[in-house]
Amino acid sequence: MYDGGKIITGLIIGLGLLFSPFIYNAGKAAKTPEPVLTKKAKQAKECVAPKAFMKEWHMQLLDKWRHEVVRENKRYYRPRELASKMTLDHDLMDQWRYLVSIGKRHYIPSDDKVYKKSVEETCFDCHSNKSQFCDECHNYMGVKPYCWDCHIVPKESKEKE
């Protein structure tokens, strides 16, 4: 091979760099995330949307809320109205039904709740243990949302609830 030495050396270095993350982490399995619910969250029994839905799409929900609150001043959210709207909006209906089915939970908001669309006042009201809840999955997935640069994370006490 013409210039064989240089090519092989280059290949070794290149492939080494390419596979270095895997080589570095060889043999170590990351622990599956186990988010912990606070007492308040357990008492609430239901989130603003079904669990399976929130697991996958909470960021899209937050994005939508952000747009509606900041730019349109529409600050309140009512899950029951959404459930009834489902029959009209086929796009959402199929998605929602499928997710509810794999979550194996039939979601009807137990009373006519109205939530304020606010991370600090609604989400963190129940899920005030970011390090044991949000961070569990985020760290596992290597996701670093920069929301916390501005939005204030509740201070956590050292004892588990």
Binding site: E81, D94, E120
Partner: protein, 271 residues
């Protein structure tokens, strides 16, 4: 987990559709009900919010308390630096509040008076005209807002504002929690956990407490001023002829800052 082709296609379709749009997940409004319950609150829905400052009732202490409350509930840091300072409402004298009112022989009592300055929430705001991303825009009710998620920090709005109302986060505002000297000035920063701080590289300013208006509460400075001296700051809807602001403007002479520029400022000063 066994999955047949139909299920797989369903999942793929669902993911694709939702991924492509951040779709209309929760297309929910709560019209009517929430607003109706706001009937007996200090303030309801407005079409053109404005503030009237009765400068005859102003003094250092009142303006200072207003600034304290405003900066407290909005997590505005005290950076102790005229270069980097962030201020939503502050005090100045006649000469510097109304520099275009050149008057060597202005009345003594006016010369000594103090004035609160804040964003004028102009009807025709040059800042909104120049923003390249519509991060700052004017809402239907007249309030000029800043979407801190969208601001790229180009500071064109600061150049366009004729009133110096806007402040920029030259550094991370949360550094007051790390620096010893600044920690003393900001002992419980962020003082309001229900309101976000900002990040470095974005512009901020007074928002007429739009988050409070949404719940039927008056802006914090107005509420505070009311407790110290009733009528010092009056807030209301210019579009409503029966509102307090319209009443007081009908009865007493008011001036605005640099009105000749056509910005239509909505902060009126009763002299």
């Amino acid at each position: 987990m066994a999955i047949d082709r139909r299920e797989f296609l369903k999942i793929a379709g669902a993911s694709a559709v939702l991924a492509l749009g951040g779709k209309e997940v929760v297309d929910i409004l709560v019209p009517g009900e929430v607003e109706a319950s706001m009937k007996d609150l200090p303030i309801g829905q407005g079409k053109r919010w404005a503030m009237v400052v009765d400068t005859t009732k102003m003094d250092d202490n009142l303006i200072k308390k207003c600034q304290e409350v405003c900066h407290h509930i909005h997590n505005v840091p005290d950076l102790d630096s005229p270069k980097e300072e962030i201020k939503w409402i502050w005090e100045d004298d006649y000469e510097h509040t109304f520099p275009e009112q050149e008057n060597e022989y202005v009345a003594e009592k006016i010369e000594k008076r103090v004035f609160p300055l804040l964003c004028n929430q102009c009807t025709n705001p040059p800042c909104c005209r120049v923003c390249p991303t519509q991060a700052t825009w004017q809402r239907e009710d007249g309030i000029v807002l800043i979407d801190e998620h969208r601001c790229i920090g180009c500071r064109f709005c600061m150049a366009a504002c004729p009133y110096g109302s806007r402040s920029f986060n030259w550094g991370d505002p949360r550094r007051v929690m790390e620096d010893d000297r600044l920690k003393e000035l900001n002992p419980d920063f962020p003082a309001n956990p229900d309101y976000p701080t900002r990040t470095k590289g974005v512009v901020e300013k007074c928002t007429f407490c739009e988050e409070r208006l949404a719940e039927g509460k008056l802006p914090a400075c107005v509420e505070t001023a009311d407790k110290i001296r009733k009528g010092a700051l009056i807030f209301g809807d210019l579009a409503d002829p029966q509102s307090e602001v319209r009443k007081v403007l009908r009865e007493r002479y008011s001036i605005r800052r640099k009105p000749e520029l056509g910005t239509g400022p909505n902060v009126f000063y009763i002299i």
